[in-house]
Symmetry: C2
Subunit: 436 residues, 2 copies
């Protein structure tokens, strides 16, 4: 998508779709918990009923992509096996099992006699989701949207054209049978529409991009709609001087190699100078045996690291078996490095010194700050959220892994019996501000 650098104006056809979606989202916002659970189960039922059609459509997409010479990695993400589809369908039902994020009373107070303020969670409205080739994302995202009472406009990768059409058709049948407006899920299929979506700020309340860093950056720079997500995931692990070297090594390895293409994999290892020699003596052969390319500052090269790092390395998310290493004087220097280069996703410290651990965790302003564990735990499922729409590295909430909670907002309900502000100005009424 990086070849498109202008955001087209939405045409009338897209505006019509957006308006139908907006109206459907209002209807779905008024449904109750049981109705939404039932809708999810019916959506899952129709995915099962239409499994054959979906798999056939996927084979068609796959063949087309193969002929186009698309990369192996993309092909493997595009491929929807029976097993993957079953897991996706199971996922839809599981989202139904999560507790209702709507109607939660966050605040209830009496402002004055007979004047009661409540703050309750409500759906955000319409979500706009742009994702690359994985067709299973359609099921996951649609179920999270419906569970939280939102409408959703989806734009998937063009490689998955036929698969996405079949999946969405099944989901809409489920919605219809449950009495919901099927327009609550809207699939866009053209590239032009997917970019014009960024100009639908009157219809879409939150954009969730799921794809490459380039896609996310492009979206962040080209829309006024709030964007939930992150571009870079430049995570750090600092190994302090008071450590168990075996534990430090185990955590460092897991943080790098357990799944190097993940955003929560570590890109830079910072090592206290007092421990650097002992640590690297053990670490270098192990990392090498796992095919990890090590790139370090001068000091670490002196201690056996093969390649010398330049400034750009500290700013790079390798997403690969490459790790940059820097030797630092103390925890303060480690914190400064993290503050300068972290993408504010997840940064960790390994130490037995509680005071250093607290200092690091308090002063590093990332969505996740970890002590004596792998950065790979930064994930909605591992945090116990049941499902995740993405991980946000922005300063404002929702921050970190975002589950259903991030797909709701709140509004204030105020109920009175004819109360007016002027009575308070004149002293005829008084504020009590009692929590209820």
């Amino acid at each position: 998508m990086t070849d498109i650098f202008e955001v087209p104006i939405p045409d009338n056809d897209l505006l019509d779709k957006a308006d139908q979606l907006r109206l459907a989202s209002i209807k779905i916002s008024q449904t109750n918990d049981n109705e939404r659970i039932r809708a999810l189960n019916l959506m899952a039922d129709y995915l099962e009923k239409n499994s054959r059609l979906i798999i056939e459509a996927n084979i068609k997409d796959y063949k087309k992509a193969e002929n186009k010479g698309i990369s192996k990695a993309l092909l493997s993400r595009l491929k929807l096996t029976k097993e993957k589809l079953s897991l996706g369908i199971e996922g839809v039902r599981k989202v139904g099992d999560l507790s209702d994020p709507l109607g939660q009373i966050q605040m209830k107070k009496e402002l004055s006699e007979g004047l009661i303020l409540e703050r309750k969670t409500v759906p955000i409205g319409v979500l706009g989701v742009i994702f690359e080739s994985r067709p299973d994302a359609v099921m996951q995202i649609s179920s999270l949207a419906i569970r939280s009472g939102n409408g959703v406009m989806l734009k998937g990768g063009s490689e998955a054209y036929f698969t996405n059409l079949e999946i969405v058709s099944a989901l809409k049948k489920g919605l219809e049978e449950s009495g919901f407006d099927k327009n609550a899920i809207c699939l866009l299929t053209s590239r032009k529409d997917s970019m014009a979506m960024l100009n639908l700020e009157k219809y879409i309340n939150l954009i969730i991009p799921r794809g490459s860093n380039e896609l996310v950056k492009f979206i962040q720079e080209n829309t006024r709609i709030p964007v939930l997500g992150h571009a870079d995931g430049i995570c750090h692990l600092y190994i302090d001087n008071e450590v168990n070297i075996e534990m430090a090594l185990k955590v460092a390895l897991d943080s790098k190699i357990q799944y190097p293409a993940a955003c929560n994999a570590v890109e830079t290892l910072l090592i206290h100078r007092e421990i650097a020699s002992d640590f690297l003596k053990k670490a270098i052969p192990i990392f090498k045996s796992k095919d990890v390319k090590l790139i370090g500052d001068k000091k670490s090269v002196e201690l056996g690291v093969d390649f010398e790092a330049n400034y750009v390395d500290w700013q790079t998310e390798y997403l690969d078996l490459i790790l940059s290493i820097k030797i630092v004087d103390n925890v303060e220097k480690a914190i400064s490095h993290v503050q300068e280069f972290s993408s504010k996703h997840t940064d960790g410290i390994i130490t037995n010194n509680i005071s250093n651990a607290n200092k690091f965790m308090n002063e590093v302003d990332s969505a996740g700050v970890f002590h004596n564990c792998s950065t790979r735990f930064a994930d909605g499922f591992r945090y116990g959220f049941g499902a995740e729409v993405g991980i946000s590295t922005q300063a404002l909430p929702p921050r970190g892994p975002v589950g259903l909670e991030g797909l709701v907002t709140y509004k204030y309900f105020l109920k009175g019996n004819g109360n007016i502000v002027d009575d308070f100005s004149l002293g005829k009424s008084v504020y009590t501000h009692k929590d209820l």
Copy 2:
């Protein structure tokens, strides 16, 4: 400010200031509750000590503004009397009395044995506040920023140049005496810098504009930094058929005339057709006696309203003694009108019919939905928040009146004893996901 339509690149001097502010904000984020309360009291003390200097500076600003022929409304907002200053200083101490928004544990759970996840509130980082001529805003905003552990970059109106300098100088002395880094409050004085601020996305985490709709709109359209606030405040009041007409009239009057220039004043009155004639018979003479110009749809003109409304009226925030009136068939039509024209600030219904009240409050997606009370209650002080940085009409939180709670975010703290993700993949460890 509407005459400037390009956002300049920050120069090195501004970048230096921003970097000092960023470092100071990290230091202040590490202070404890008592230290921040003490700092606020010392800030208030220095404002008191420097009262004479501040008032003299204000007289200088006032004379200059008067000579320039600035409007009376602006002059009155610029004027800082002894009483206004005392109230401002008292306000600073009161912010110290509010409970600490930082370090609140929002979530605590065991992910697995020995692996504990906590979500705690932390400061946002650096706030950027752009406001028009009122110099008392400097005291209020700075105290809210310091209370919540944030740094703040301020840009006030050029008319208040000398006053703002004196106030900020006193505030910085208070910060210094309390051992805080005085760079945590940074005042910009040139228009060029204030606009370049919008390009400081690496340094500023949240922009809070306080001023005209045009200022807010300009800022929203010209920065990638999240903006807290609202441009228009187009609030509605719907008078249903099952009402006590006296109560409806009292609430309608208060919503319009108690302070017509406020964002929470009502701009459009929707009236059920069955009650329209009776209501308007009483309302028209009363509104006229209060100098309110009434503009209505055809039906309401037939019932005695003087001026006929056009499409633009439904989209206009008059901020004045002008009220547009529309007669509707039922609560559904009232809701549709609100959904189309509301700026999502505050919309209310007057009815004795609970089912209609709930329908209206649930289906209208505004930050505040009110039943049988004046829209003028939409305010942080009236909601009991103690202080307010503004009212947000966006879909995502913070929404509605925003107090200290809106100036903090959260991060996830994960503490383990060497836990790695691979052990869970291999089945050597299991997730327990127990709430603690």
